[in-house]
Symmetry: C2
Subunit: 339 residues, 2 copies
Amino acid sequence: MIAESDGMAQRRAIAKAITLLESTRADHRAQADELLTALLPRTGNSFRLGISGVPGVGKSTFIETLGLLLIGKGHRVAVLTIDPSSTVSGGSILGDKTRMERLSVHERAYIRPSPSSGTLGGVAEKTREAMLVCEAAGYDIVIVETVGVGQSETAVAGMTDMFVLMQLPNAGDDLQAIKKGVMELADLVVINKADIDKDAATRAQAQITSALRLFGHQGNPEHAHAVHDVHSGAEVRFWLPRVLQLSALAGTGVDAFWDAVMQFRQLQTANGKLARRRERQATAWMWERIDAGLKQAFRQHAQVRELLPQLTQQVAEGSLPASTAARQLLAAAAITARP
Amino acid sequence: MIAESDGMAQRRAIAKAITLLESTRADHRAQADELLTALLPRTGNSFRLGISGVPGVGKSTFIETLGLLLIGKGHRVAVLTIDPSSTVSGGSILGDKTRMERLSVHERAYIRPSPSSGTLGGVAEKTREAMLVCEAAGYDIVIVETVGVGQSETAVAGMTDMFVLMQLPNAGDDLQAIKKGVMELADLVVINKADIDKDAATRAQAQITSALRLFGHQGNPEHAHAVHDVHSGAEVRFWLPRVLQLSALAGTGVDAFWDAVMQFRQLQTANGKLARRRERQATAWMWERIDAGLKQAFRQHAQVRELLPQLTQQVAEGSLPASTAARQLLAAAAITARP
């Protein structure tokens, strides 16, 4: 029998903590809040990297290659997943396959699949909390991945320091990303499988670069924008989104990718944008949870449950003004707001 | 002294009703709800046309030309405005100028400027209600216009049967519209001032048409998509967004614009999409007002007001988990939701 390593024991402890956080029992939730508050002083020291891409773009292969590279550099890597398909169907695009076989057995890596039920907001909350647990446990790189369906990209971009969009060397893909507003979230776009069709990858790179420019990112050859601070006169540089080609399977371009991530981290730390991004994310998260809680309590209110079907019907068929129905339902829930 | 016409008396009555709807006094609000409920059976018979465009695109000139054309065809035309700038600054991009001089004095027209204060949600609510008053008063075309700043386009598209985006014959403009997701809302795009630079207008028309196609609208030469109903086998046609050139000042292209609007109306009435759009709009409006009411009541709660500044600070600086703060605040407001 092989002696259990420290790594394995720690991963079990993390898994147990995350399971507690994911529990819906009220007493567990109270314990979870205590645990989180206790862990909080030890969190925040990792770099939080979000990665999104459509199914088949090669996220798992890329994350495994990247994770092993980072472990080789002395990092400890946690990989968390948000799978929006599980919130709708109970099934999962990502969850069932055996993925990242080499990374998952490494003692300096921790991989956690997506919480398997609840709303996207609920799944995102559990993932944010799992991220804090991983940070407190000493993982200094946390990767949060999601498939590019639904609104999960916004959730991932809203909980990470840097958001990376993975694309195939295939025109059209990028237009979908533009349409859904995902391109605007991207700090970095990587074109994977660039070795399969170099010409297509280069066309896609040019196309996406030009789309990023047109959408207000004014680039310069160094992909960083220098301005002078109005107070000190010192030069301040800002990150500008860029597009890289790589092949996760062949392992080419992954080093250059990580160099770009580290340049982003240095720049945004120096200019203060990383700290402000985390502040904004934390308060936005608080309000998102408040909104969800308010709406849930409202829908569970006995009088609302009684009135809602009928009033909704009347509003839909045009026999009751929507604003009047809203006021009647709010009054039924004993909620009155000054206008 | 000129005898007051019926038109003038009626417009005064409408103005009085809308003023009541816009009042923030609780007793007025109760009266307003009664009024709306009483009017509702007489509403819904107009065609609701949303028009959006950046300042300077020529909305007023266009609406005046169109309004006079429609009056000439026997219609009665109401024009309502949502000005998002007034909700932020109290000032107004649209409100102060003397606009639509010929249309505003016509007895078969009614023009109402934007409600001048409140959140965008509140302004949109007042405008929706004003629309119902105008419909009950017999205006069979209601035009709701907004400037293309802020989220007001979404509000206007969410209360009208057809949403028209006005553009200048100027590349780049459309990319902003794509970026902000406004292009996807558009049922029709018009390029105004096409007479000033015909070449630029034609380029813009081709560019926007191709953008609309790439974004999933598969066009055919008739700009309408024919499918066969799975049950009856009958041909059902759907509207496909199109791009028209016109000159509001010269009056050219405005007839063709109205023909397109009427084709849209016939098609979407026949295939049932117009009715479903109104149903969706009404229930979405109800939920929007409920959300706004819940959040407002929450923020006004004494315990929340006391705790919020400190907890927000702790969340922003990372000393309190956002989800814990949310739960504490919800508990303080005596709101508990089952997880």
